[in-house]
Amino acid sequence: MSMNRRRFLSSASSAGAVSFAGSAGLLTALGNSKAYAADMSGYKALVCLFFFGGQDAHDTVLPFDQSSYDGYAALRSGLFSDYAAQAGGSSRERARLRELAPTNAAEFGGRQFALPEALDPLKALFDSGNAAIIGNVGPLIEPMVRSDFNQGIKTQPQRLFSHNDQQSTWMSSSPEGETLGWGGRLVDNIAGQTPIFSAISTFGNTVFLSGQTTTQFALSTSGPPEVSRLRNNNNGLLGPASGSDAAAQLLIDQYKDVRAIRSNLYEKDSAAVAERAFSSNEAYRGALDNAVALETAFPSSRLGAQLGAVAEAISIRGSLNMSRQVFFVGMGGFDTHDNQAEDLTLLHTDYAASIAAFYAATQELGIENDVTLFTGSDFGRSLVGNGNGTDHGWGAHHFVVGGAVNGNHIYGDIPPYATGHAHDAGNGRLIPNVSVEQYAATLGKWYGLTDTELTSVFPSLVNFAQKDLGFMV
């Protein structure tokens, strides 16, 4: 990645972030001193659940009406054989699909949709009105259809079909290299709360949570770690000096590189991470002391553990003095070029159970109307497979879950399960009907941002007529 210094933002933030956004849109900088004018009363949390690798939307929201289903089965005969070969038979037999009955079913003119049985816990949330489907969402700069794409006459997002670039574009409106993400931007400048825990990740460092003033906190699913055996009598790090406060302080000061004057930039950054590690973990640990353990049980998977940690974090929002938080939770394994029947089923089972547990936890805390979980992924996948897998796509169908969601409804659109239609980019890769920015701006508006602020965070939003997709109450 080269350093193209000509692309500095015009009103550079204190981070001096260099954007490689180009025609994908520069994230315009808000002044550091300007707090959001938006309504930031009460408490709201956004939880981004990101499926790394590109989840196959076609195999997540399936066609159900007989005609569409038959066409789909024919196009995916290889995949359907794999499903049929599974123990217990094919979960994709029409009789085993779970028909959806969205409130806007009539808009699809006879076409019907279903979820696979592995997503039953999530379907229950959909049916009860607490989850919605956003159909065919993906990165877009301006609305496009097939002829635009084939003739190259509209501005299309950069570096389509590339995992890392599309992950970055979902999170920051720009390909890999961008340093500001919209999740972090949403919690910048929240008045009255210390920024330190406004953005929390349980899946490592992510551009999604990086704002102009917001730096993420990496939360370990086993709790905020501390240095082991610091003062463990003679068995500890200090050995014979275990009783000495001065010795303990010296060691911690050294770990934090306190008072060091450094010129090398990598040394400075290493020291900054260490310092934050100590101060943030200590503050979080202090807040956890007052935590009341949740009764809701989470699956024992890595995702279950992450969502459990997020629920716990939300439970101590008072101690942490938070009014707005954004969380990032991740799950890998969705790049199903191969073995899709087996792999996707396991993934579906895991995330449906984990999301349902998370929703139950928010009910237990009495704040289900204040917490919204939404999914995202690099892209959807091709409809025409390669045998027992699928290849990189573009638009995909995603879920939004929470008490404030206008659920049991399909927003956006679900294009036909065929090739050659107006949103086919080839081989059934979908040109999105709605853009990620429209999706995110809808969440941002619920969060409390004004229209002006939303336009600032989402630079391509101006190109779309519908800036609020309507899925939030």
């Binding site: 490689f20 196009l75 014979p240 060091a260 450094r262 900054a272």
Partner: protein, 580 residues
């Protein structure tokens, strides 16, 4: 006239060519109008790289898995050119034979644990003779990524076969490396092209695109057009230029069809398990007979699989992006997180020209494009890599990878017979952000282009890959992990006190009563003289808290406590964390 060190190479033509180049250079550069590849700008003069113990330590910290006092003492005052040629000539450590032996020794129904792969890697990194080669193996494993974190964990022999390819080609040629990797079951499995079939117009099925994309995007060229110095070329609007689109991918995908294990049945491993750890073969019936067009190249219809793969790899390998894309990343793995464009350009030239002139005027490399010896020598012996930290720019340096720091420790304290398998902690280091050969995806633990939000390096426009895995969680985990080893608290599986990875602190405990001497010794070995005044002062203050009660029963414990405290304070200091 200096005697040219013999360049061992199995291809005699290459050897002749090397001698030809060397003869021209020795005869007087550029004289007589003889046409020959231009030698590189002269690196530092003979013997300066090893002319002090701190300089020797710093170099070894980059070119091996960690300096040892033995090496520092024996190499200081000698010529680095000889050292590096010696490294190039050392036989490669191989992983497959020992893995096969272990598999064969298993009881029926037992499986070799996934961790055996990284266990053997740790052992090699800590104590094997071919240090530079294994350093390059690790670097390559983070570029041409195959991970055994998923299902490949059940196939250690397949994984070991892949590691041996990296080991054999680390000092070979990148084009050969690409070919060996393409035919490896490990990559075929990991990027899902084993039994990848040609398209079927009736069902609409098309070939799997996974390898076609990642081969170009991650292993050879990247997505954006590059200058030789690694910077992006820009179009008339000042935008970077994408060098391929999805149509190139679908064209190239046709090339990697028909590959499968060598047996009678396409797509089957067959009864002979060794098919999973020897090269894949092309089944012509499943190989695409269509025209294959990508990157401005067209492979004619009805070209067979082997020839198609050969032509495709040639076309990719010859692209202008190949040298800068690879060179910048190799530099990042070895010496500098954000190398200057000039540094990248010099290394790219060595890659393209296939030779490098060492300080003693001898030449390494065969003169073929993609020569790894020339490239590695160019990286390690570049003036940018050899700058004195006291005067080097603030943008120089590289954060040591967390898993490599553990290996540094083991070497620094003379573990010469490691048995990583006996260390519980070495089975899974994911809490510190990475584990050898177990990347979470083909994108490695961190991206070469990662810019750390809100950081000083970001403000200066620098890339900092290792910062991508450093956060509040992993940095504390690193402290606890390294302390478990330093304080010899890491649990072993066996009762053998010599089992596992253990330090020998005798050299340190002997001088532990002298705080300044102890600091100097550890600063030399671990950081090559990069500890700052504040760290030294703090360690000395800590020494005051742990006096040595000489002549008592507590003396040995006091000495050991001082040593361990000093080590933990050094190995968490930014002066150590950042390799200069």
């Amino acid at each position: 006239m200096r005697h040219l060190a013999a360049h061992k190479n199995s291809r005699s033509l290459r050897s002749l060519f090397t001698l030809y180049i060397a003869a021209i250079l020795l005869a007087g550069c550029g004289g007589g109008g003889v046409s020959a590849p231009q030698p590189q700008p002269q690196p530092p003069t003979v013997s300066s790289v090893f002319n002090s113990d701190v300089k020797t330590s710093r170099f070894l910290g980059k070119a091996t898995f960690g300096a040892t006092l033995t090496d520092i003492n024996s190499l200081t005052g000698t010529e680095v050119s000889n050292w590096i040629k010696g490294e190039f000539n050392k036989p490669a450590t191989h992983y497959l034979p020992v893995i096969i032996t272990e598999i064969q020794a298993l009881a029926d129904g037992d499986r070799l644990p996934n961790r055996r792969i990284s266990d053997h890697f740790f052992d090699a990194a800590i104590s094997a003779n071919d240090q530079l080669r294994q350093r390059v193996v690790l670097a390559l494993s983070e570029i041409i990524v195959v991970s055994n974190g998923g299902q490949l964990g059940n196939n250690p022999a397949t994984m070991a076969h892949y590691m041996d390819i990296l080991s054999d080609q680390a000092f070979g040629n990148y084009r050969d490396l690409l070919e060996d990797i393409t035919y490896s079951p490990a990559m075929g499995f990991y990027l899902t092209y084993i039994a990848n079939q040609k398209g079927d117009p009736e069902t609409g099925r098309v070939p799997d695109e996974n390898y076609a994309r990642e081969l170009m995007q991650l292993f050879t060229l990247g997505l954006l057009e590059l200058n030789l110095d690694g910077t992006h070329k820009l179009d008339d609007q000042g935008e970077p230029i994408e060098i391929f689109n999805n149509s190139d991918i679908t064209g190239l995908a046709k090339v990697f069809t028909g590959l499968s294990y060598e047996n009678n049945d396409f797509g089957q491993r067959g009864n002979d398990r060794s098919a999973t750890y020897r090269p894949l073969v092309v089944f012509s019936a499943q190989h695409s007979q269509l025209e294959k067009a990508f990157l401005g190249t067209t492979i004619p219809a009805n070209t067979n699989g082997r020839r198609s793969i050969d032509q495709a790899l040639d076309a990719i390998f010859q692209h202008g992006n190949m040298a800068p894309f690879l060179s910048r990343q190799l530099i990042q793995r070895l010496t500098a997180s954000s190398p200057s464009p000039a540094y990248v350009q010099r290394v790219s030239r060595s890659f393209e020209e296939g030779t490098f002139v060492l300080p003693d005027r001898s030449v390494v490399g065969t003169g073929e494009r993609g020569d790894m010896q020339a490239t590695i020598a160019a990286i390690l012996l570049d003036a940018d890599a050899l700058q004195d930290p006291a005067t080097a720019p603030a943008e120089s340096g590289k954060i040591r990878e967390p898993m490599v720091r553990i290996i540094n420790w083991a070497r620094a304290f003379n573990e010469t017979t490691p048995n990583a398998h006996d260390e519980r902690l070495l089975g899974n280091l994911s809490t510190i952000g990475q584990h050898p050969f177990r990347s979470p995806s083909v994108f490695n633990f961190f991206r070469p282009g990662f810019i750390a939000p809100g950081s000083e390096t970001a403000a200066a426009g620098l890339t900092a890959p290792e910062l991508q895995i450093m956060n509040e969680s992993s940095s504390i985990a690193y402290i606890n992990t390294i302390n478990a080893f330093i304080y010899e608290r890491a649990n072993n599986y066996s009762d053998d006190p010599e089992g596992g990875v253990n330090p020998d602190y005798r050299g340190e405990t002997a001088i532990a009563h002298d705080g300044a001497a102890l600091i100097n010794r550890l600063d030399l070995i671990l950081t090559g003289g990069s500890l700052n005044a504040e760290t030294r002062a703090r360690i000395l203050s800590m020494m005051d808290q742990v006096p040595v009660r000489a002549g008592t029963n507590d003396e040995a414990a006091d000495r050991l406590a001082r040593v361990r405290l000093t080590i933990t304070m050094v190995m968490t200091a930014p002066g150590y964390l950042v390799q200069r």
